[in-house]
Symmetry: C2
Subunit: 74 residues, 2 copies
């Protein structure tokens, strides 16, 4: 049941692509978003390519980091 971090699933990729899109739209680097969110840039980079089964808490924090609600990021 609890999914591990095996690789990109469609749901991870959907979230990761949207995050990257909104980050780049704002001219933010991974480092900028790391600073805005308190999440390391290396973790964010993995989220963006679907390598992490990111939890709802961090999804919310990342959405806020690009100035959106989680709903608007999805």
């Amino acid at each position: 049941m609890a999914k591990t971090n095996k690789g990109p699933t469609e749901s991870r990729l959907t979230f990761g692509r949207r995050l990257r899109e909104e980050r780049q739209k704002r001219g933010m680097t991974l480092e900028d978003l790391a600073e805005a969110s308190g999440i390391t840039w290396s973790y964010i980079a993995q989220v963006e390519v679907g390598r992490r089964n990111v939890g709802v808490d961090n999804m919310h924090v990342l959405a806020q980091g690009v100035g959106l609600t989680l709903r608007d990021l999805l």
Copy 2:
């Protein structure tokens, strides 16, 4: 950075409440949703009260279990 399962955060509660609302709207029990999603009812019960930092993979599966996309569930 990686959040543990300490307790209800606002983002967990928002997701959990929406999930419960949509499940009950469809007259589904926790057992029904467990069967539809392949996730145990006890885990779903904890998600609904914000006790789990549910990952994007399971959020997607739970949304599908009530017939919605993840975006529509948020």
